[in-house]
């Protein structure tokens, strides 16, 4: 939600963050280089190009090892010949430079509970974030490098919106949350007092502060970005750009950069510039809207009536310009240092539109022991410009007795909002042999507060009114124009520590897992004077990633093979021929020890009419029949589901494959009010935002594939296994209630059935697959089922069982490309049971009988074995699933179709 204090997210395209052994920084020893260097004999200068893969293989070579010069000359001339051959057009392969890789990473962030004393807000769950990250780095045409990244964050939970004296807090009329009162009492020192306890000396002073938190429904951010680099022998240039999208914040960015090597590559200079432009469009939480004065934001605020409700939206534009200049220097054979300076100028809407500031107005009355005051929430106001400078220093030093390295980073930050921050980080990189590395790390951060930060603001004056008799503040009479109570702008320190464990498996695969604990405390601020401990919090973060080398292992096969590279790999990796992208478990790995990594993306959309059985129905019918005994007030307008699946497959023997399939999902449902039904006060309202989002980790598949029968051209196997209920089925949404009397309140309730992240049940998913091949044709069929092994999940229901059958045929258009057509029949039962907690019943999607049905689909697909040299073994496939006929249970939104994209590589 909202705008960060500084919302620039680092893209993965930093040119100076590459491995020291990348083509740009070729500080590789001659001993390493002799394997695969590209030695340009024409130039007398020594130009070394090496791969980090080579480096890893050879890193066991003692660095003390010297190669005598005559030996070296012989090798050099041999390699010069090879290098010349490699530079001939067409012969250059993707073997130069860093390897081409695919990386997938999952990250989890969980905040600990904050100290909220006994306010109602204490019942909200703290924030939780699931992140997935995918990267493809490709080297091609010898000197080009492309890097594409996809990032997706899904978060939910409660976050502070402002701070108030604890004594001012009261429970809202619905009792669901706490908010600060508007009429308050203070003592002669203007300190809050406890009005509930009377002592002989009067009321007790209580200056304790507390965060006011709000809980938001699930939100998702998606970012795609890319970088393209061209490398010369001693220089590189990069262009990049990307897009980040959230429901309330959209950002676009471009960047250029370059690097130059000097001094026999002992010195590298990096430079870069970037420009980011963002649009912010926030709908304020209608629960708190009545308590917040938006008058200070002028034209940024727009009040409109959507579906009969008052909606306050805040819009703004933000621009960020950044530039940096860095220098990397080899100090000696054991150490190198990087130092860089950076500058960012941000302008425009720099506020976080969700953050509120408390204004306490008290008119001084000398001699009175107690005074009454007004406490008002207003939207925060930050300066429209922020200039930021950073000086970043990194030292990497080798520790000889342990073959380890120590990384020491110090970062100094300063901006013209008055914030100066210091960051110190120490990492110890310890290789343990057999491909294992452990990295313990510790980090300390400290910042002082922004000039305009205070937990709340006291004005010793009567509240200035814009219009007598109305509560609106006359902001021209307020002595300050810039103010924020965002605790991220307060003074504090943080201490965090963690460990990363990495394991390299062969040449092709590396696995990494990391854990970190982080504590934020006012008392940790450098030099003291940080914010009080009410703002303290902690979090833990964990991540796991998989990186595969897209070109590993295939080179030896290539060099000894005949001309029919593709036939070889097709046979090797895909004995089942080219099954369409949407068919799971369409092939088995042919020999023991084989390994496959795949990624599959599926997007399904529903949009259009509401179907009942096979035909569409009118809104009047939905209202009267779609919601059981009550009348429907909403119907789904659109539903989008995205699914990311990893497919990790290993063959312990030639008749058995084991498959692990983690899934990540996100969903979006857009509702429309049915005519004449939405204006009832107290009905389901979405605060003008009728879109629901959910997402996160889905169910995890575990399977065994067993070969049943195989002759040349025919193959039969079955899959036994299923999914474990790792996906959350207790996803909720926040519903606003607008009772006829009193303020708006909220109810947290289960989101519509189809939007949970998983099934919540252990599901048995057997399948039987036949594939055949003859000439340019291949064909196949599959029967599969889903049987829910539990009667009910933790939320009280179970999805219906499913049976699916499919038949396909594909034709090889070229040796590397095939096209497929297939038919799919699916039958799924309705939901059994129902939610056992609060849930809405406002539309057909809230009723178990409106799930499942019989469906016929046509699939059209393309499948390709990547024909480019250096990427053999990579398969890319797409399929569009076109619904042909629906016969739905109950009332359901029409299906639009599904797109499936899959990629895999076998070793």
């Amino acid at each position: 939600m909202g705008v960060p204090p500084a919302g620039v997210v680092v893209a993965a395209t930093k040119p100076h963050r590459r491995s020291i052994c990348s083509p740009k920084n070729r500080f590789c020893s001659m001993a390493l280089v002799t394997e695969r260097v590209r030695y340009i004999g024409r130039k007398l200068k020594k130009v070394f190009r090496c791969e980090s893969r080579v480096t890893q293989e050879k890193s066991s070579i003692s660095d003390g090892e010297r190669i005598n010069s005559s030996n070296m000359k012989k090798r050099s001339s041999l390699h010069a010949l090879r290098a010349v051959a490699l530079t001939l057009p067409g012969l250059a392969q993707a073997t130069d430079g860093d390897p081409s890789t695919f990386t997938f990473q999952y990250g989890r962030y969980e905040e600990g509970k904050r100290e909220l004393f006994d306010t109602k807000n204490d019942e909200f769950d703290p924030i939780v974030v699931d992140s997935i990250f995918g990267n493809v780095s490709l080297n091609f045409l010898d000197r080009f490098k492309f890097s594409g990244n996809y990032t997706q964050d899904t978060w939910s939970g409660a976050t502070p919106i402002t701070t108030a004296p604890l004594q001012f807090m009261f429970d809202t009329p619905t009792g669901a949350s706490s908010f600060a009162a508007t009429n308050v009492f203070v003592d002669a020192d203007f300190d809050p007092v406890d009005t509930s306890v009377f002592t002989p000396s009067g009321l007790l002073k209580d200056t304790q502060l507390v965060h006011m938190v709000t809980s938001a429904s699930v939100e998702t951010r998606k970012q795609g970005d890319f970088g393209l680099t061209y490398e010369w022998d001693e220089a590189a240039a990069t262009v990049g750009g990307g897009l980040s999208s959230e429901s309330d914040y959209e950002s676009h960015f471009v960047n250029i950069g370059g690097s130059l090597d000097f001094n026999s590559k002992l010195t590298t200079v990096d430079f870069g510039m970037s420009y980011t432009w963002s649009d912010i469009d926030v709908n304020l939480d209608p629960r708190f809207d009545p308590y917040i004065d938006e008058g200070n934001h002028g034209d940024d605020v727009e009040i409109s009536i959507v579906d009969g409700n008052r909606v306050t939206s805040v819009t703004g534009k933000r621009r960020d310009w950044s530039a940096n200049l860095g220098l990397t220097q080899v100090l000696n054979k054991n150490a190198l240092i990087e130092s860089s300076i950076g500058y960012t100028r941000s302008s425009g809407f720099l506020e976080n539109a969700y953050k509120v500031v408390g204004f306490l107005f008290v008119e001084p009355m000398p001699g009175m022991p107690f005074l009454s005051g007004n406490f008002d929430g207003v939207l925060e106001q930050r300066p429209d410009v922020r200039n930021q400078w950073v000086w970043d220093n990194r030292l990497v030093h080798y520790v000889e007795p342990l073959d380890a390295s120590v990384h020491a980073d110090y970062r100094l930050y300063h901006d013209d909002w008055g914030i100066t921050a210091h960051t110190l980080e120490l990492d110890w990189n310890q290789p343990l042999g057999r491909g294992w590395t452990v990295i313990p790390r510790v980090r300390y951060y400290s910042q002082n507060e922004a000039d305009f930060y205070q937990p709340f603001f006291l004005f010793k004056q009567a509240k200035p009114l814009l219009t007598p008799g109305r509560p609106d503040i006359d902001f021209s009479q307020v002595p300050i124009s810039e103010y924020s109570s965002d605790h991220r702008l307060s003074g504090f320190g943080t201490l965090s520590g963690g460990i990363t464990i990495a394991k390299q498996i062969g040449d092709a695969v590396s696995l990494k897992a990391g854990f970190e604990y982080y504590t934020h405390q006012g008392g940790l601020k450098l030099g003291g004077g940080g914010e009080d401990d009410f703002a303290d919090f902690d979090y833990w973060a964990a991540n796991a990633s998989l990186t595969v080398d897209l070109s590993a292992k295939f080179l030896p096969v290539l060099s000894s093979s005949s001309n029919d590279h593709f036939g070889l790999h097709r046979h090797r990796g895909h004995s089942g021929g080219h099954a369409p992208a949407g068919v799971m478990f369409s092939h088995m790995l042919p020999s023991a020890g084989d390994f496959m990594v795949g990624y599959r993306y599926m997007r399904s959309e529903r949009h259009g009419d509401i179907l009942h059985g096979t035909g569409s129905v009118s809104d009047a019918t939905i209202i009267s029949q779609g919601c059981g005994n009550v009348q429907c007030s909403f119907a789904p307008r659109q539903m989008i589901m995205n699914m990311h699946m990893l497919d990790i497959m290993y063959a312990p023997t030639d008749w058995l494959n084991l498959v692990l399939m983690p899934q990540f999902v996100d969903m979006e449902m857009d509702l429309r009010p049915l005519p004449g039904q939405s204006l009832d006060v107290g009905e389901h309202q979405h605060g003008g935002n009728s879109t629901h989002e959910t997402g996160g980790v889905g169910d995890t598949g575990l399977y065994a594939l067993i070969k049943l029968f195989e002759t040349p051209g025919h193959h039969l196997h079955m899959a036994l296994g299923g999914t474990a209920p790792t996906g959350d089925v207790a996803q909720t949404s926040i519903r606003e209630e607008h009772p006829p009397l009193g303020a708006a309140g909220t109810v947290e309730e289960f989101v519509h059935y189809g939007m949970q992240n998983g099934s919540g049940t252990w599901d048995f998913r057997p399948s039987l697959t036949y594939t055949g091949q003859g000439g340019a044709f291949s064909w196949g069929g599959q029967l599969s089922g889903i049987i829910r092994l539990d009667h009910r999940n933790d939320s009280g229901f179970a999805f219906g069982d499913e049976f699916k059958s499919t038949l396909w045929t594909s034709y090889n258009l070229f040796s590397w490309l095939s096209a497929s057509v297939r038919m799919v029949y699916t039958r799924q039962g309705e939901i059994r049971g129902e939610y056992d907690g609060p849930h809405s019943e406002i539309g057909p999607m809230d009723f178990p009988e409106s799930y499942g049905g019989e469906y016929w689909d046509l699939g059209l697909g393309l499948s390709s074995m990547i024909p480019f040299s250096g990427f053999e073994g990579n398969r890319l496939a797409f399929e569009w699933i076109q619904p042909l006929n629906d016969d739905v249970n109950g009332f359901q939104l029409e299906r639009e179709g599904s797109l499936i994209a899959s990629w895999s590589i076998s070793y």
């Binding site: 500080f27 020893s29 480096t55 890893q56 010195t267 190198l336 950076g342």
Partner: protein
């Protein structure tokens, strides 16, 4: 820091690196520097995630060469 001081600091920095750059490490002496764990950022994708967490909780996120967008702030 006023401008003169800033310029002096930059000049000093240039001088330091100028002297450092006189050091010579022959290519065949760079084996240690070439080890994967001697990279400036050995695991960039993990670094990105950690930075993203810090950026959403600390004020000092900007100012680098980073480009990127969105908020993703929670």
């Amino acid at each position: 820091m006023n401008n003169t001081k800033r310029i002096r600091a930059i000049l000093l920095l240039c001088l330091v690196f100028g002297i450092l750059s006189c050091s010579t490490v022959a290519p065949w002496e760079r084996g240690r520097l070439a080890k994967p764990h001697m990279a400036l950022v050995p695991f960039p994708e993990q670094g990105l995630l950690r930075e993203h967490n810090y950026n959403s909780r600390e004020a000092a996120s900007g100012g680098g060469a980073s480009s990127g967008g969105g908020c993703g702030c929670y």
